[in-house]
């Protein structure tokens, strides 16, 4: 068999930790090959080895039949391997063509070059205007710029790191068309993701890593989404299902909330109205940067609101701060973990005290009962399976997923009547995400209300009974999911209703 890239028995260790342990992977020409795995499974280590930014301890690679050991990313690019990173490296104040030319060697920005950009953009359906300033572009368009920049190097292998995590459903399907076309033209693609449905749609082969080891090389269509997920996390996933949807009267409502942002680059909130019933899970979908942060600040109480806007259990809570809101049994999990939901340089036990309603008995008259704080921290750690050496471990030393589990647990042990949570599983591996989702569902089954703000549409769709979309600071009414709900959401997300 003629492989484009052959990777044989790569091993790479960091101290005692084997990030890649005897991993082999073969990419056929013109194929879209998925690299699947949870956080820490060794995906990025393997990619760094391929892209020349890491030297493996053992193992060898063959590129187009010849022995291949890139010394650095430059070397890898020279030989025809390009990569689109998860975080873009574009200058916001420059135009698209200027950005592209900056990333290439030995070319000048002239009419020929611009024409070439337009040619690629037409050929692969990468809709882009070369003269536009990158700062004005959506995330999806920026990604297209990055892809064109890679294509101009005529790569034979394109590595894409979690490309769809920032895209709307429409942008995702456009991207897939582009990638299929590229593969047909002879550029194979290594597609890193943990979104299994996408992988099943797009990829012809998949390599699954777990704990640095190769678990399976397979054809993704031969397995169900759940089977793939279970191979990835190495244990059974629990199906998400509400056992008891028993909604009651409205417990929380927002009426006509508008606010101009203090921040020059912030989003103004326009006339937002919403209500949440007891026992229900309401979702706010939308691409990041459409007012989610601004809304969250007001919901938490970091910024107070005028009377008549925010109401909880029949009372006006607009002028209460977050601590006072918690006393009424409203709890919050913000998106940003380090520096917002947790203090990076403090231990978990101290971080417990950020959320300390009186009934938790962590403090009385302001005096801290450290014994009790310790007990509660232990409880969160064991109930929510937080991997940590001790309760004093600094928040910043925990992995993102672990810290998220801690933060979710910290709020859930208070039995909130209303939980407002932003991006509950952002950057969290599939197994932990599954646990967090279950915990949220269990809370709602008990009769508590939950408001979820998330960019992850799958998450919103699988958890929420009622879905709104936030776009450019405006909130849609609840989307009717009975017919063409997903299309409707997709349109609302890009702000083009009807």
């Amino acid at each position: 068999m003629n492989y484009q890239l052959q990777i044989n028995n790569i091993t790479k260790s960091y101290g005692d930790l084997k990030a890649n342990d005897d991993v082999s992977l073969n990419i056929k020409p013109s194929s879209i090959h998925a690299l699947l795995g949870e956080n820490g499974a060794g995906k990025s280590t393997l990619v760094k080895v391929i892209y020349g930014s890491l030297l493996p301890d053992r193992g060898e690679m063959k590129w187009l039949g010849k022995s291949y050991s890139p010394k650095n990313p430059f070397d890898a690019r020279e030989q025809g391997i390009a990569m689109v990173f998860q975080h873009f490296s574009l200058f916001e104040s420059l135009t698209v063509e200027e950005n592209i030319v900056l990333g290439l060697d030995g070319v000048r920005l002239d009419e020929n070059f611009t024409e070439k950009i337009i040619k690629y953009s037409k050929q692969y359906g990468l809709d882009i205007n070369p003269h536009q300033v990158v700062g004005d572009l959506s995330v999806g368009a920026r990604q297209r710029v990055e892809i064109i920049r890679c294509l101009m190097q005529n790569p034979k292998l394109l590595i894409m790191d979690e490309p769809t995590s920032v895209l709307t459903p429409q942008e995702v399907s456009d991207l897939f068309i582009t990638l299929r076309k590229l593969a047909d033209d002879g550029c194979s693609i290594l597609y890193i993701s943990h979104k299994l449905e996408e992988v099943r749609q797009l990829c012809s082969e998949a390599t699954i890593l777990r704990g640095g080891k190769l678990v399976e090389s397979c054809i993704p269509q031969d397995f169900s989404q759940q089977e793939l997920a279970e191979m990835m996390i190495g244990k059974k996933l629990i199906q998400l299902a509400r056992s008891n949807i028993n909604t009651g009267e409205d417990i929380f409502s927002i009426s006509n909330l508008s606010r101009k942002s203090d921040d020059m680059f912030g989003v103004d909130l326009k006339n937002i109205s919403l209500s949440v019933m007891k026992g229900s899970i309401v979702g706010i979908a939308g691409v990041a940067g459409n007012g989610q942060d601004e809304l969250m600040e007001l919901l938490i109480g970091e910024i107070t609101s005028p009377p008549g806007i925010l109401s909880f259990k029949g009372g006006d809570i607009g002028n209460l701060n977050s601590h006072e809101r918690r006393e009424l049994s409203m709890f919050f999990i913000p998106e940003e973990r380090l520096g917002h939901g947790a203090v990076p340089d403090m231990g978990l036990n101290e971080n417990m005290l950020l959320s300390r309603p009186q009934k938790s008995e962590m403090t009385s008259y302001g005096v801290i009962d450290w014994q009790n704080v310790e007990t509660l921290t232990q409880k969160v750690i064991s109930d929510f399976d937080v991997q940590t050496f001790s309760t004093k471990m600094l928040a910043k030393s925990l992995s993102g997923g672990n810290l998220q589990k801690f933060m979710v647990g910290r709020e859930l042990i208070q039995n909130p009547e209303l939980l407002i949570v932003a991006q509950p599983t952002w950057g969290v591996d599939a197994g932990s995400a599954n646990n967090i989702h279950q915990a949220l569902i269990a809370l709602a089954d008990q009769g508590s209300a939950i408001l979820i703000i998330s960019q992850d549409l799958d998450e919103i769709l699988s958890l929420c009974e009622q879905i709104h979309v936030l776009s450019e600071g405006s909130l849609s009414t609840a989307v009717d999911m009975t017919s063409k709900g997903l299309d409707k959401i997709s349109q609302l997300m890009v702000g083009s209703e009807d």
């Binding site: 601590h323 913000p334 203090v343 005096v367 801290i368 030393s397």
Partner: protein, 356 residues
Amino acid sequence: MIRLIPRVENSTAMILLSPLLALTLTAISAYLIFVSILVDIEVSSVFYTLFVEPLTDSYYLSELLVKAAPLMIIGLGLSIGFRSGVWNIGAEGQYVIGGIAGSAVGLYFYDVEGFWIIPLMALAGILGGMFYAGIAAFLKTRYQVNEILVTLMLTYVAVLFLSAMLQGPLRNPSGFNFPESRLFHDSALLPIIWEGTRLHIGLVVAIILSLIAWFGIKKHIFGMQIKISGSAPRAAKFAGFNDNKTVWYSLLISGGLAGLAGLFEAAGPAGQLTPGLPQFYGFTAIIVAFLARLHPIGVLFSSLLIALSYVGGENVQIDYNLPKSITQIFQGMLLFYFLACDILIKYKVVLFKTIR
């Protein structure tokens, strides 16, 4: 190759060892400086005079404690404020205003007997310092004016205000126009706790205050408030702490304590208000606070160490004719090494064999 690797938890061993390491490095550097500048003088005997002699004699020891008391009180206040990221650099000014306010009360009740006079003066001193630091708090919370600049510049205003007061309303009417106040009467003088020395009750107050501060920081949610506001302002809001209140608390506490120290200095060792009241304690206390790692109990020890360098420094001036700046060099090096060594608490040093 040497590399620093972040630790998962702060190292308890290093929290205790790093001050000793810093002291050792300071001693080595001081030794090298003395060796290079001293002619015909035995370095070891200078070291003895600087660090050991002050501890051998009851007079020196009492003077050391007299100097440590104001450093402790101011350092305590600063350590609380610095924790919250509010940088009160002008404790010297609040110390002077506190001294003036407290002394003015003492002089107003001149020749009136009563146990209540000293507490009243102390209260006036605290309020004076609070008022002066409150100016910075007001400007910061209302207009976002940087508190470092305001507190520092107000220090110079305070010193000029002192001299205006001493040439005007507070001047001794029978003092031959010297810019000094009357000598305080007995009820306005701090009780002496060590007979035959100048050591006054301020030391006891300082120790009690540091225990209270330790309780507040360790056991009260207030300690968390200032700590979180300092290291993660957004998380402080998330926890429901009002950031403006934190600024006010920090400045009022550090200003009030500096004011108290100023009054203790006037009603203690000086016994009157003189232009010599400002002695740089307000600035030196910044070093005290950092040497103590902003820990209230640590302040007790770091102020003793700095006081030792003051007394020892005066002694080498007298005995060996060395310049006064020796003391400051020593204090500066100590702080420098101390801050540098503290990195070992959060990071561990790993020796790598270079690859390739």
